[in-house]
Amino acid sequence: MSNGNGNSSLLAKFGASVIETIYHSGRFARFQWAAITASCSVCLKPAMYPLILNQMLAIGVRSVPVVAITGAFVGMVLAIQAYDQLAGLGIEEHLGVLINLSVVKELGPVLAAVMLAGRVGGALTAELGTMNVTEQILAVQSMGTNPIRYLVAPRWIACLFLTPVLIIYGDFLGMLGGYLISVPYLGINNAAYWNFSASGVEFWDISIGIVKGFFFGVAIAGVSCYKGFHCKQGAQGVGEACTEAFVGSFIIILAIDFVLVVVSKAVYSSLWPLRMLL
């Protein structure tokens, strides 16, 4: 009998967690849809542009140093780590391809996005979460303004357009860091370094890295704003929401990266013969 009860309570718990998951997924999807439609309508309203510019300053401009530093260190570390392997094979002049390709395709975009998830995502969730627990979001609503349009859309648009730009900064500093270690410090021939780089890194590689930025930006804004809007009451609630927002956007960034790599490979291999014909 007790066993039966145990099983049924286990089943009830499982059922409750399934219902909970479906409820949260539905709420998340509805929030994102509302954010997308609100962002589109805000883009058509010049009166909202100052709000977008404010967010661009907070989200984009103030993130430049952290993204640049991350990029530079990635490039420098890659150079130091890979040099010995390549020198062992006598092809150390190919170091440029390795560094620049890794930076523009993968490490630059992903690490910049992760840094942004921490810096921007954390700040967005904390700000909106505090507004939520102090009823400021309800206050916006009570005055007849849609809080998603007023609060989420400008942040969403700023993240969407500025994450790719920040990735370009990260890529640039990554290349510079790799170059500074490879050529002046490790003594690789300057012309060979850049020639090999130019032959190995295609426009396609750079654009894929930048395109990723749009997706990462949306993921960071979407998850962080959602968590801020739906955080639990109190300081602990805001703290938990910030942690969940960072972990959530980090995982989504990695998942999106994986999907985009698969898709871009498929697109590249189907377009490759076409390019040969041209």
Partner: protein, 274 residues
């Protein structure tokens, strides 16, 4: 317990409102109507659903069942977009003020105006903000940020923001809680002044009986999600229900007193250390 028959215009009508959070029933089949131009005070112990009730009036919360009418139009089932127009005709004073802390006092006041009006005459906008701030006696704080204001000042600025669009109805959520008696009276006078000068309908949630007696045309007491008493100040003062008398006189419950006398309530910290 039901309302008197409707001679004056009923601006807000609630019909059979039920609201639960999980298994906690907060509002249990509440039906009320509010007359235009009158001040109604809703009293009741903390957690009895007063705030939940007034949030239903502006549809910041939607009922599980029941209906909310504003000027005889059903609003509880409206889309958010339609509700925005209704909400501009109501002002809501939040318990903590809910001022936007990224904006200064002036920007807080003009926020609702900027959201709903195409501003052509900036001078007039400044005048409007100045007038509203003067009404709450805060005109010298236009450039201050909410973080620099005291609790009472925040509430007064929040009140100025709530009346910025000259609403027909103002909902006050505990306007005097946490304020000293003098500041509380300033807020009471403000509520009376707004009624006198702007003819607004006010619904005030409070558990401050001094304030309730001073401002109310009608007092409603909520208890366990139901209306326990409904009438003018004298009616409430002389109400026969022990629940009402206990609340308005601020007497502790027999159960609470028993808990204070219970064995173990005199444990000293030194006992724990041994």
């Amino acid at each position: 317990m039901e309302n008197k028959t409707s001679k004056p215009e009923e601006i807000i009508v609630l019909k059979n409102i039920n609201k639960s959070f999980g298994s906690n029933v907060v509002l249990d089949d509440i039906s009320l109507s509010f007359e235009k131009g009158k001040t109604t005070v809703i009293i009741g112990p903390s957690g009895c659903g007063k705030t939940v009730l007034i949030k239903h009036i502006i549809v910041l919360l939607r009922p599980d069942s029941g209906r909310v009418y504003f000027h005889n139009i059903r609003i509880d089932n409206m889309q958010e977009k339609q509700l925005d127009a209704i909400r501009t005709r109501m002002g809501f004073l939040f318990q903590g003020g809910a001022l936007f802390d990224s904006m200064n006092v002036y920007e807080n006041i003009v926020f609702p105006v900027k959201q709903h009006v195409k501003i052509k005459n900036r001078e007039k906008l400044h005048d409007l903000a100045r007038t509203k701030l003067a009404m709450v006696g805060m005109e010298s704080f236009a450039n201050a940020f909410p973080a620099k204001l005291s609790g009472g000042q925040k509430k007064r600025v929040a009140l100025a923001r709530a009346i910025a669009l000259s609403p027909e109805v103002i909902l006050y959520d505990e306007p005097t809680t946490g304020l000293d008696p003098i500041r509380s009276d300033v807020i009471n006078e403000l509520i009376l002044k707004l009624k006198r000068e702007l003819g607004v309908t006010s619904i005030v949630v409070t558990h401050d009986m001094t304030s309730a007696y001073k401002i109310a045309d009608r007092i409603i007491m909520l208890h366990n999600g139901k209306v326990a008493a409904d009438g003018n100040a004298d009616y409430i003062r002389n109400h026969s229900s022990p629940v009402v008398q206990q609340f308005i006189n601020g007497q502790a419950d027999e159960d609470d007193l028993r808990a204070l006398r219970a064995p173990g309530s005199d444990i000293k910290i030194s006992d724990i250390e041994q």
